[in-house]
Structures are given as C-alpha cells and as structure tokens.
Amino acid sequence: MTNHRSTRFAVILSMTGFGVAFASMVVCAQPVQTIGRVKIAAGNAFVLRGSTSIPATPGLALLETDRLKTGSDGRLGVSLNDDTRISIGPDSETRLTHYRYAPAEGAIALVLNFVRGAAVYASGQIAKLSPDAVRLETPAAIVGVRGTTVAVRVDPE
C-alpha cells in the first residue's frame, strides 16, 4: 500500500517536472519566434529591428515588430508562416506590428501598419481561418479583408 502510494507520488512529481520543463521551454522559445522570411530584396532594402538596421537579403528571418523599409531604389518581398505575403516598393515602410499563428491553441492575429509608400498584401491562412484577426492599418484608415490581395499607398505626412 505504502509502496503503491509512493509510486503514484513519483509519477505525479515527474509529470509536474515535465510540465514545468515544457512551460519554460515555451516561454524561452517565444521571444525569438521567427514569423517569416525575406524572399525577394533589391536595391536599398532593410529590416529595422529595434534600433538596428539589417540589410535585407533573401532568407533573412523576420520577427514580430520588424519594420520593412526601402530607399529610393529598393524593393522587398516577404512570406510569413501562415502563407501571408507582403511586398513594398521604393521609399516605403511597413511594420509587422503583431503576429500570432498557432491555430491549435486558437491564437491567430496579424496587424500590419503601412507607414509610407506602396505595399501589397496577399492573404494567407490567418485571413482564411479568421478574417477578423487581420487588421491592415494606414494612418487614415483600417482595411479589413475577406481573403484577398490588397495594394495600399500611403503619402508621406
């Protein structure tokens, strides 16, 4: 009887240990979660991350809150994990403000801010699973989409 109870205790203990290890793994994994990659880059094209400016090259991994930015001869095209595609023309800037794609946990969201210049958004799985989870913002309006491709141009202030 005692033996049985201690076995059960050991099982519970090890399960708790596993739970803690799993939870900490998830927590650790979150800040460096890659949300997509640069696919096409030409001319002066950058990914702005915090206060650093990274030259955009095909294959570069993207993180939430990255800003895509180009100079007068720049172009940039990216794919996100849910198949969303975004591209910008010269003298343009678009911010990948918010991104969640974990359908099994019911966590999906996409917020883009078109800051300046020309941008194209082609919808992916997030728009298909939950159109309301997608918000495309310009300085003057919000674009809601029902699975589609939208081009937006924003005048400089």
Partner: protein
C-alpha cells in the same frame, strides 16, 4: 471689329479653362501642398478570384468588391466612394511592389493509413512533386503540418499528427531536401479538412499538409 473682340473673348475663356483644368489636375496628382492621402485597391488573387475588402475609419466605410476597385482616404475624412482603376494606373502606383511579391505557395496533401505513420500509395508519389516545387524557388521554405481526424482524445491526436509530420520530414530529407529548409508542426484535430463531430473516423482528415513557399 466686334467679331475680333468676340474672338479674343472666346480665346480668353478657353485659356482660362485650360489653365484651370491644368491646375486641377496638378492638385489631384502631384501638388506637394495637397494634404496626405492614402489609396487602397483590391486586386485579383493569384488564382484570379477577387475577395472583398472594407476600408473604414471614424468617419465612414467603403467596400471594395471588384477587381481594381479603389478608395482614397484623406486624414479625418471618410474613405471616398469606390472607383475602378485601370490596369495601367495599378501598374504605375504599385508596379515595383507587385513585382516584389513572392510567388504564391504550393500545397501538397499526403494521406495516411489508419492509426499508422505509413503513407497511402498515392501520397508517396507526391514526395517527388514536392521536391520539384522546392527546386523552382530561390529561397525555399517547406512547412510540414500533421493533422488527424477526431477519433480518440485531442492530446493523443496532437502527438500522432506530430509523428506523421516527422515521418514526412524524414522522407523529404531522404529524397534530398536540406534539413534547414524544413519546419515541422502539429495541428492535431484542431483544423479539420472535413468538419465532423468529435470521435469521428474520417480518412480525409488524417493528413499531412506540405507547404512550399
């Protein structure tokens, strides 16, 4: 004399009209003093279909429902009524951005034998097709996501779907795909292809979806 004066007057009116129009055109297109304005256009998807977009702010909303339908939005004003741009106008405004849009992804759906990590015979052939799609892309990303039907508990299905996705990953690597290009995930029974109640045997839901982008 009278006729000459009338002629001059007419000429004056025409001149005024022409310069007026020119000024209006400048105001509309490239007057640096024009208040900032956003432009939003809906475009056909890569398969030719046209979705739907709603452009809104505190002052109003405009629906864009046909190819190249556009609205212009000035700060603190409602979006303008929808107008349809020509293909040339779209090209002028967005040509560079459109040329930089990565190609649409390609999908391959592989099916499994019941409660097994073995592919059906038809699905084995799709591994070759996947590799072909990968070779066509400059920076290929391959995502392998496992799905199950709703037979059994969700937690076990999450694990089963993950094992299936990993089995496909092993096949792709054996066929020559670089390990670093492949990501594996499980959506368990959370994303059914064919909607069913819980505990429902449905072979079409037992699948691994490969996305090549």
């Amino acid at each position: 004399m009278m006729r000459a004066r009338a002629g001059f007057a007419a000429l004056g009116v025409v001149c005024a009209l022409v310069s007026g129009c020119a000024r209006m055109a400048r105001v509309a297109v490239d007057d640096p003093q024009r208040p900032p304005q956003d432009l939003a256009v809906i475009l056909p998807d890569s398969d030719g279909s046209v979705g739907r977009a709603t452009v809104s702010n505190a002052s109003g909303a405009t629906d864009l429902t046909e190819a190249r339908a556009a609205t212009r939005i000035s700060r603190n004003q409602a979006p303008s009524a929808a107008t349809v741009l020509t293909e040339a106008e779209v090209e002028r405004e967005f040509g560079d951005a459109l040329a930089s849009l990565p190609p649409a992804p390609q999908w391959f759906t592989l099916h499994f034998q019941f409660e097994s990590e073995d592919l059906t015979a038809e699905s084995k052939a799709l591994v070759t097709a996947t590799l072909r799609a990968v070779k066509e892309r400059p920076v290929p990303d391959v995502l392998v996501v496992g799905h199950t039907d709703t037979t059994g508990p969700a937690a076990l299905n999450f694990q089963l779907a993950l094992r299936r996705a990993q089995a496909v990953r092993t096949l792709l690597i054996a066929a020559g795909l670089a390990e670093s290009a492949i990501a594996v995930a499980s959506h368990g029974e959370a994303q059914l292809l064919i909607p069913t109640p819980d505990n429902t045997y449905e072979p079409r839901n037992r699948r691994v979806l490969i996305t090549v982008r």
